[in-house]
């Protein structure tokens, strides 16, 4: 079962990588606002080179 010596560090690396990514995200303020991002992604950009924008309901 020596393969455990390979897989465990890899799993830990991935875990640590996750933690690092999480801390990075927190420090960058990614989770400061948990309301508006959910709404903001709904806003469709309006193309500026077309008058009628594809008629999506809003």
């Amino acid at each position: 079962m020596s393969i455990i010596y390979i897989l465990a560090p890899i799993a830990l690396f991935l875990g640590l990588f996750g933690v690092a990514a999480f801390l990075w995200a927190v420090n960058k303020g990614q989770f400061d606002d948990l309301e508006t991002p959910a709404n903001r992604m709904l806003i469709e950009d309006e193309p500026i080179n077309k008058k009628n924008n594809k008629g999506k309901e809003l």
Binding site: M1, S2, I3, I4, Y5, I6, L7, P9, I10, A11, F13, L14, G15, F17, G18, A20, A21, F22, W24, A25, K28, Q30, F31, D33, L34, E35, T36, P37, A38, N39, R40, M41, L42, D45, E46, P47, I48, N49, K50, K54, E57, L58
Partner: protein
């Protein structure tokens, strides 16, 4: 409106999205999806009646089933992931794809891998490891294509005009990182020739690496990218914000943290150390919580929009997909509980389970996402809502037929295998009885599959007509402020670069560290130390080694396991329980995942050579009712002895104790052993010409299975035991 949207000094920038490459991926996904389903329906019929193997080696179940699984996962779903991710990522980041040339290069490389890989599987080039069957040149190409995908994700994020990284993107990033690591680690192998290699891991080790990969392929190829897509497309299609953004964040971090540990639930009751099995089980059960968190979040996003779900095919497909996701992620943890697993493992229950995931979750998501994207990027409207609805019902009913029949077949067969009478004897000692019993269920499954295939064709036609009526127009141009909140005016450029870089660097560094440590660790950890312990196992003789490669080539492992679990019924049916030591020379391991036919770990010495010969030429001649394909070409095809020495050298370099003499005389040894078998066969009237054919090599291998253990028991080196479970 949040603060970062209102730009203070950020200049307005104009940009457009690269939807051309998205279109290509959509079309490719549809094309391969059809091929995958067609192969799936064919193999379903092959199990209902062996005649559907058509007597052609390229189309036998053992070769077509890997083609089906690989096409469904990597070709159909894979291309759909690239399409959906590239579409949503650009819009969420308010930035054009980082590099279109790279995305197009990745596209053609991926299609080349699929076409070439598919062909190679039909021709019998295979690793013999499930969902990782493609040989080493393809493995390298896959790694390259995957890295290009990741660089495009990160590059686009680097250029983004939206400071906030929406939760969907987190799922995409974790998909990229983890699949890269899994694929690389599981594919470390030593080439013998252009289309043949052996893994550096053997036996139990190989099994653990393989299922660590296999389970996480499900997790990070079929699940996390689709959860990301769910968090984009469900709110978009319903025009409602996700039910709880907070929950989505918790969902993401808990899910990715738990998933990576769950692999050993594929190896319960195997020779994997007990504690590793328990870890796998515990994490699998724990996974239920985040999975359902995600499902609930997806479904509740539709609250108040259920009338739309009824009308809009996009939402109908998406909502059903999320529901099936909930079902599959309830079933999975259940099946990971050891006692349940003992019944479910090796049966069709598992096959039903994966299809509720791949059809119910992935295919339904793909249909919903495609019906959302296609009218938008082709600038038109959906050709027929009616046809889409019809497709929806064929998929749903077909899938229900599939799942119900597989539950019934799986549980029925599982119970029959373990049934003991009062005297402690097997109630169904003949394995074939348990096969014949579930054939009706195989027909139901096959027709369910036909229904799904027909529905898929509706989608193809619908999308074809939709695209046909598309109006040409110039590429839409959008406008947004440059990412401003993070940049002090003067040094705008450099600061933004720095902001994006840590991510890229971290990931590249991670990959570098992994590759480095692997190169360092693998040779020492997998080598002699493990094998040098005195083992009762004799390495495969040259002929047996060739025979083993025939076994892998023909994909016998998709129907036969080689693992006797510790329970009385298996002990009585097959023989002494499998030991870790038995597999030290098995590269790759061949424990299998489904017993369509009986376990073969103890088949050596059970029958004489002639029985095997007859069985391979016509299984029904010796076992009436068998659904095993005919393998009569083994009688005429010469076995490959040119690479034999090279094969043994590679094995020796991995620690198999072949002496130089043995390697030098490999071909002569093989010939001598083959002659012995041919002589015995000739007594029953078989021509002696068979001595240099694959048939003889395969028989040599089959007779070796379990032979050393049986001898060791005779010699008193190993205790013959039934084990203590259930």
């Amino acid at each position: 409106m949040s603060t970062e949207q209102v730009s203070h000094q950020g200049e307005m920038e104009q940009f457009s999205y690269d939807d051309k490459v998205v279109k290509k991926y959509i079309l490719a996904s549809l094309f391969w999806g059809f091929a995958a389903l067609l192969a799936g329906v064919t193999i379903a019929f092959q199990l209902s009646s062996w005649k559907f193997n058509f007597g052609l080696e390229w189309l036998t179940f053992g070769r077509l089933r890997p083609l089906h699984t690989n096409a469904a996962i990597f070709a159909f779903v894979g291309n759909a992931i690239f399409a959906g991710v590239f579409y949503s990522l650009q819009r969420l980041a308010k930035a054009r794809l980082f590099n279109s040339f790279m995305a197009n290069f990745q596209f053609w490389l991926w299609q080349l891998i699929i076409a070439g890989g598919g062909l190679s599987l039909l021709l019998g080039y295979s690793h013999g490891k499930e969902y990782a069957e493609l040989e080493w040149p393809f493995d390298i190409a896959i790694a390259i294509a995957w890295v290009l995908f990741g660089v495009n994700i990160l590059g686009t994020l680097w250029k983004r005009r939206e400071k906030h990284i929406y939760v969907a993107i987190w799922f995409y990033i974790s998909t990229f990182v983890t699949v890269a690591v899994l694929h690389i680690v599981n594919s470390i192998e030593i080439p013998v020739s252009l289309m043949k290699s052996y893994p550096v891991y053997a036996g139990v080790q190989d099994a653990l690496v393989q299922w660590w990969y296999g389970h996480n392929a499900v997790a990070f190829f079929l699940t996390t990218p689709f959860l990301g897509l769910m968090y984009y497309f469900v709110p978009k299609a319903a025009n409602r914000p996700v039910y709880s953004y907070r929950l989505s964040i918790i969902h993401f971090w808990s899910l990715i943290f738990l998933y990576i540990w769950a692999g050993p639930h594929h190896l319960l009751y195997s020779t994997l150390p007990e504690w590793a099995q328990t870890v796998g089980m515990v994490f699998s059960v724990a996974l239920w919580a985040p999975s359902w968190g995600g499902m609930i979040n997806g479904l509740l996003t539709l609250r108040g929009a259920w009338d739309k779900v009824r009308r809009d095919p996009v939402l109908k497909f998406l909502a059903t997909a999320v529901t099936f996701y909930g079902m599959a992620t309830f079933e999975g943890p259940l099946m990971s509980i050891k006692s349940v697993n003992h019944l479910a493992h090796f049966t069709d229950w598992v096959v039903g389970h994966v299809h509720s995931g791949t059809i119910g979750w992935n295919y339904m998501m793909v249909a919903g996402i495609f019906y959302f994207m296609i009218p938008r990027i082709w600038n038109t409207t959906l050709y027929s809502v009616k046809l889409a609805n019809l497709q929806f019902w064929t998929a749903t009913i077909g899938l229900l037929m599939y799942m119900m029949s597989m539950w019934t077949a799986g549980i029925t067969q599982g119970l029959m295998w373990r049934a003991l009478d009062d005297g402690g004897r097997l109630v169904y000692p003949q394995f074939i009885e348990t096969v014949v019993k579930i054939i009706p269920m195989y027909w139901v499954r096959a027709f369910g599959g036909v229904l799904i295939l027909i529905g898929f064709m509706f989608m193809l036609y619908n999308i074809f007509k939709t695209i046909q009526q598309a109006k040409k127009e110039e590429e839409p141009v959008y406008q947004a402020p440059a990412l401003s909140s993070a940049k002090p005016e003067a040094h705008a450029g450099t600061h933004r670069k720095l902001e994006g870089m840590p991510m890229v660097f971290t990931i590249l560094a991670l990959l570098a560290i992994l590759v480095g440590s692997l190169i360092e660790l693998v040779p020492t950890l997998t080598s002699h130390k493990y094998l040098a312990q005195k083992t009762f196992m004799k390495p495969y003789s040259p002929l047996e080694l060739v025979g083993r490669d025939v076994y892998i080539k023909e994909g016998c492992y998709v129907c036969h396991s080689q693992l006797v679990r510790p329970s009385p019924d298996e002990y009585i049916r097959y023989g002494t329980v499998s030991l870790a030591e038995e597999h030290v020379y098995d590269r790759p391991f061949q424990w299998g995942s489904r017993r369509i036919g009986p376990d073969l770990a103890r088949v050596g010495g059970k029958y004489n050579h002639m029985w095997h010969y007859k069985h391979m030429i016509d299984p029904r001649a010796v076992t009436p009712g068998s659904i095993m394909p005919v393998y009569d070409w083994l009688e005429t095809k010469k076995y490959d002895h040119k690479t034999l020495r090279k094969k043994m050298k590679v094995m020796a370099s991995l620690g198999v104790p072949y002496s130089e003499d043995e390697i030098d005389n490999a071909i002569e040894n093989a010939k001598a052993q083959a002659m012995g078998i041919a002589n015995e066969l000739s007594e029953s009237g078989v021509s002696k010409d068979i001595a240099d054919k694959e048939m003889v090599a395969l028989i040599a291998y089959l007779q070796k299975l379990g032979a050393d253990v049986k001898q060791a028991i005779k010699d008193g080196k190993v205790i013959d035991k039934a084990g203590g479970a259930e």
